[in-house]
């Protein structure tokens, strides 16, 4: 094995001049952008939206800030967490949507001079909750199925690279047609019978319901002056009660009809509030000063119904006043009310919730995983550049960038853990983030040893790809969902889940190293014999780790099952998936120890490891059976298939004889790569 310093580095020209400038510029650019995002607080122009964004509420079983509700809702309704207010009309005219006619399209990627005004998630949520008529006019509902557009008699809406967005006011007149389809689809017993059209219907249905919930969270959506309405309601209730009491005092026996007549005005209000509560809106009324904070958050609708008997929480009045100020465009008043409200609930003992709200909002805004994604991809391109001309500075710059990306990635991971009070992996989304993190660690360690860019390629590429996977998984909504009872154990999440996920990560890294081997060997002349051997050795070493992690992780899973259900092994699909990874890694190691496979064989087997792992990670969930199934994910299925096919193609390439390999073409037949088997390096260890 050659020393690291004897690797390509010495032949590289000494770095100087413009390259140094470009290299440092890149590093500083990313570092500066990240620092700016972290350090510069958000400025409010008029309304103190940033103060609204951090207000705590309870939704989806957990305390979260308005900002999280806004982002997750927009993801589910629109798929994108911003709402542009301007764009292109007919003939390239630029302007606000309502001023343009005809075909509308969002800013094209090449329109660098245009900066469309946009609603950020919290801007949009504030408007949706307090100025519902205006919110109805925003292009937020994404409807892509042409048949569904046809059914609802929709035009092209606002278009953005093939996606079509519509306003609530476009859809409302077609509610009847939609309802018929919703009823039909919900009667299908088996979800797998749903066609793409049916799924589009249900997606719109869910978006619709969510939008209705948000609009009715703080006040009934059709109320124009809710503060006044509250007064009327409570005064009416008091009057009705007084009348009943007065007549009873006179000794009158009230018949049901008479009683109804007295109560009728109050009932009209109560009916509205009951409808709000039944929508299952977020719980925005904080608990009273005492008691358990987790359990007594309430819905506005519920407290309104109870108000004549139990009194009205101040929060409802505050939000009503906020609504009036917001609709009147009175920013100073709005901001003053909001500041007052924050002080009130802090005094009432919600300091922890306010802090959590602020932290989570900061975490949302940090976009740690998105930022590290950009850094990784740049680093990856730099390593390719390094391989192309062997200028050491590109490798070193890539190293710095991967470190930077890794720092941000880690910060995001740790922040998430602190917010949730949980170990890193709690669901499929966080498993993707953690697999990427583990792969980057392994890649960095490899790079430290070999300094030939391979570790960096693995780190940046696997890091980038897994974060893409995570990004797509986040489209489902809240990624910090609470754990159901059986999973609610930090001990097993910290041991079984973390270890098994590291097993996935290392199997992927081994497979990815193998891909580097094949692509470099086949298509470039840069895969020297030493590099090839080194790569094979890395694959071997990582496969050992993978075996250790996947085995221990799998058995720990069994022990967890034994602790919660009384059976160590139940042949559940996810368990079997993990078992297959263990068996596969064991097979690779034994085949290699037995001398059955040599360098190239090991490389090809490692790529099969990618297929095996992706199957266990995603495939088993798609069977829709067993304790671990998270429902059928059909978009993911297509990607899984594409991934499997790509890996099969790579294996086919790996099987090509030496004469097709750019790097091995000139080696004597039988010599070089083939004969220099790993088995000679480490003979029969078993």
């Amino acid at each position: 094995m050659s020393k690291p310093k004897n690797n390509p580095a010495p032949s590289a020209p000494k770095e100087r001049g413009w390259r140094v400038w470009v290299a440092w510029f890149l590093v500083l650019l990313f570092a500066g952008e990240i620092a700016a995002a972290l350090l510069i607080p958000r400025k409010d122009k008029t309304f103190a939206v940033s103060q609204f964004a951090t207000l705590p509420l309870t939704f989806n079983g957990r305390v979260q800030p308005m900002d999280s509700l806004a982002r997750n809702s927009l993801l589910q309704i629109r798929g994108i967490t911003e709402v542009p207010l301007e764009g292109n009309g007919v003939g390239g005219k630029w302007g606000k949507w309502e001023e343009l006619g005809g075909e509308l399209t969002e800013r094209k990627w090449y329109q660098f001079d245009k900066r469309p005004k946009k609603l950020k998630p919290s801007d949009w949520l504030l408007e949706t909750m307090l100025n519902q008529r205006q919110a109805d006019e925003r292009y937020i509902f994404v409807i892509n199925h042409p048949d569904l557009r046809g059914l609802l008699k929709l035009d092209a809406g606002v278009e953005k690279s093939g996606l079509h967005f519509y306003r609530f006011s476009d859809l409302q007149p077609r509610l009847k047609e939609l309802q018929t389809e919703i009823t039909r689809v919900s009667q299908l017993r088996d979800e797998s019978l749903r066609t793409p059209f049916d799924r589009a219907v249900m997606q719109l249905h869910n978006a619709w319901i969510l939008f209705m919930r948000l609009k009715n969270t703080l006040q009934p959506e059709d109320s124009t002056d809710f503060a006044q309405e509250l007064d009327d309601y409570l005064a009416g209730a008091a009057a009705a009660r007084a009348e009943v009491q007065a007549r009873q005092a006179k000794g009158e026996q009230l018949s049901d009809d008479e009683l109804e007549k007295i109560l009728a005005p109050v009932r009209r209000f109560a009916g509205r509030y009951d409808a709000m509560a039944r929508m299952e809106t977020p719980l925005v009324i904080p608990p009273e000063a005492h008691g358990d904070h987790q359990h007594n958050w309430q819905r506005t609708g519920d407290v309104l119904i109870e108000a004549p008997r139990h009194g009205l929480p101040e929060t409802v009045r505050t939000y009503a006043a906020l609504g009036n100020a917001y609709r009147a465009g009175d920013a100073p008043k709005f901001n003053q009310l909001l500041a007052g409200y924050r002080a009130t609930i802090a005094e009432a003992g919600l300091v922890k919730e306010l802090k959590k709200g602020a932290n989570e909002e900061f975490f949302n805004r940090m976009l740690a995983f998105k930022r590290s994604m950009y850094v990784y991809v740049t680093a990856f391109l730099l390593v390719l550049l390094y391989w192309a001309n062997l200028t050491e500075i590109w490798r070193r710059t890539a190293w710095r960038l991967v470190l930077l990306g890794f720092a941000v990635h880690t910060a995001g991971l740790v922040f998430r853990m602190v917010l949730e009070g949980r170990p890193p992996v709690t669901n499929l989304y966080s498993s993707a983030i953690f697999i990427g993190w583990g792969a980057v660690v392994l890649g960095l360690v490899l790079e430290k040893f070999y300094r030939d860019g391979i570790g960096l390629v693995v780190a940046s590429c696997v890091g980038f790809l897994t974060l893409i996977v995570a990004h797509n998984l986040a489209q489902g909504g809240d990624t910090m969902e609470m754990m159901r009872a059986v999973l609610d154990t930090n001990f097993w999440l910290a041991t079984h889940v973390v270890v098994i996920t590291l097993g996935y990560a290392s199997t992927f890294v081994a497979g990815f190293l193998a891909i580097v081997y094949i692509l470099r060997g086949l298509f470039t002349k840069t895969l020297s014999e030493a590099t090839a051997k080194g790569l094979a050795r890395m694959v071997y070493a990582i496969a050992c780790f993978a075996t250790l992690f996947s085995f221990v992780g799998t058995v720990l899973g069994g022990i967890w099952a034994d602790q919660s259900w009384g059976r160590f092994w139940g042949w559940d699909p996810k368990e079997n998936g993990a078992l297959i990874i263990v068996l596969w890694n064991a097979l690779v190691l034994h085949a290699r120890w037995g001398g059955w496979v040599r360098e190239r064989g090991l490389i090809n087997l490692a790529i099969v490891g990618n297929i095996v792992t992706s199957w266990s990670w995603f495939g088993v969930n798609m069977l829709g059976i067993g304790l671990h199934s998270y429902g059928f994910m059909d978009a993911a299925f297509k990607w899984l298939m594409a991934f499997v096919i790509s890996q099969l193609v790579l294996i086919a390439l790996g099987l090509l004889p030496n004469r097709y390999w750019a790097s091995f073409r000139n080696l004597p037949p039988g010599g070089g790569n083939g004969a220099a088997s790993l088995a000679t390096g480490k003979p029969k260890t078993a």
Binding site: M1, S2, T58, F59, N60, G61, E280, P282, L283, Q294, H295, N296, W297, R299, M482, R484, A485, V486, D488, T489, W492, R537, A541, C544, T547, L548, F551, V552, V555, L556, G558, I559, W560, D562, S564, W565, G566, R567, F568, W569, G570, W571, D572, P573, N576, I580, L583, W584, L587, H590, A591, W593, G594, W596, V612, L623, G626, K682, T685, A686
Partner: protein
């Protein structure tokens, strides 16, 4: 010849081939669960020596495969044989020996679990006390009679003896039980309304058979379904036959009878439903040799030498998410007079109670709210497991983990040293 066989048995290639077959089997056995159901697939693929044709994404493939038992045994033989033939005691091999020892322990432990472990359920409402647990699958036919003023005598006949045509005798029973029919699964009992004519003749005019129709149904393998058997019995005393009786599994199986009551209430209203339930659960008796025997087909019981009383159930969900359980737990009292024990224990998810060779897990629960809706008392079901081999995976995991770490550390240290000297 034996030499060759020995060589084959100890070879690494056999290991690789066996591992490859295992991967294929596990994969196919997993995919087949979607078509065949979890239990059926488990039994057919993993708990047999051979698999006679398999299903693959809904397609039947008539290709035989080695089953889980065969592969497990061969792997065990291969591993053991390889160690016998190549065993060398050196520090360098310590990791590998430990790893393989742990794997052997796991394989043997799983086999032991497969053969020895028993799963039953203990179900009770708040305030009730149990000294037994029930099987989730098997039933038993019992005859109960008063032994003296305070004690009852129970004769229990396991389900597997209830084959059609069987004639069952027991020294404590002054009659013979002839099994006329035994249906491993049956449809919901249908009420024979007194005024309706067109229902055909009843199975029998005795007991519950006079008021309800029972029909056989195909045996189910689905995870969320259950087989409820029905036996049709003829009693033969020395003095002749008092007649034919129906013993349905629907009566003394609490979840089944409570399910029927709920369905009936929905369909017929509370009054009629309660009336029907009373008719269904009215004890059936036979008189012979001057004694009264009450009989019924109930879930097979396993008795415990101690009692468990359910004190309190707790079932919480997350705020605003009634569908997402946060915690469910049962507070129970264990009383064991033989040992002078009397203590309270809390059993909840991931926190089972291990006691007297049994492990009690929180399994199902009808919490306060749902119980109120159903007009019942809150109740809880504990899964009771007897598994003498439960410790093996714990030990196996530690041994294999340590073994692998040692082995890979040896590699890693060697690798780093080599790089330093190169």
């Amino acid at each position: 010849m034996t030499n060759k066989l020995w060589k084959l048995l100890t070879s690494l290639r056999l290991t690789v081939v066996l591992l490859a077959f295992s991967i294929v089997l596990v994969f196919i056995g997993t995919v087949a669960q979607a078509d065949e159901g979890l239990y059926q697939a488990q039994a057919r693929y993993f708990k047999h020596w051979f698999v006679n044709g398999f299903t693959f994404f809904g397609h039947k493939v008539p290709v035989p495969l080695p089953g889980g038992y065969l592969l497990g045994t061969l792997l065990l033989v291969n591993l053991t044989a390889a160690h016998i033939s190549r065993f060398q005691w050196t520090w360098k091999k310590l990791g590998i020996h430990l790893t393989h020892l742990g794997v052997i322990l796991l394989l043997v432990g799983q086999l032991a679990t497969d053969l020895l472990s028993r799963e039953t359920q203990m179900r009770f409402a708040e305030g009730e006390t149990r000294a037994w647990s029930e099987s989730g699958m098997d039933y038993e036919l019992i005859f109960v009679t008063d032994a003296d003023a305070d004690n009852e005598e129970v004769v229990a006949i396991p389900q597997k003896l209830l084959a059609p045509g069987a004639e069952l005798k027991h020294e404590k029973l002054p009659f013979t039980v002839r099994v006329k029919e035994f249906w491993p699964n049956s449809t919901r009992p249908e009420f024979r309304a007194p005024m309706m004519q067109s229902q055909g003749a009843p199975l029998t005019t005795n007991g519950v058979g006079a008021s309800f129709n029972f029909r056989p149904e195909k045996v189910t393998h689905a995870m969320d379904d259950k087989n409820v058997p029905v036996a049709i019995l003829e009693i033969i005393t020395p003095g002749g036959s008092p007649g034919t009786w129906v013993a349905p599994g629907w009566v003394d199986d609490e979840p089944m009878s409570s399910f029927l009551r709920r369905v009936w209430r929905q369909d017929f209203g509370k009054q009629l439903a309660d009336n029907m339930a009373a008719k269904l659960t009215r004890p059936q008796t036979i008189e012979a040799s001057g004694k009264r025997f009450t009989f019924s087909l109930r879930p097979a019981r396993t008795y415990t030498p101690f009692t468990v009383t359910l004190l309190k159930t707790t079932h919480t969900t997350y705020p605003g998410r009634p569908d997402l359980p946060k915690d469910f737990r049962s507070r129970v009292r264990i009383q064991n007079p033989a040992k002078g024990e009397d203590r309270e224990v809390e059993i909840f998810m991931n926190n089972p109670l291990r006691y007297a060779g049994l492990t009690f897990f929180q399994y199902q629960m009808v919490g306060e709210e749902m119980a109120a809706q159903r007009g019942e008392k809150p109740s809880s079901v504990l899964q009771v497991v007897r598994n003498p081999g439960w410790i093996t995976p714990y030990a196996g995991c530690i041994i294999v983990g340590v073994g692998m770490v040692i082995q890979f550390m040896i590699h890693l240290v060697g690798f780093v040293q080599k790089r330093k000297t190169a």
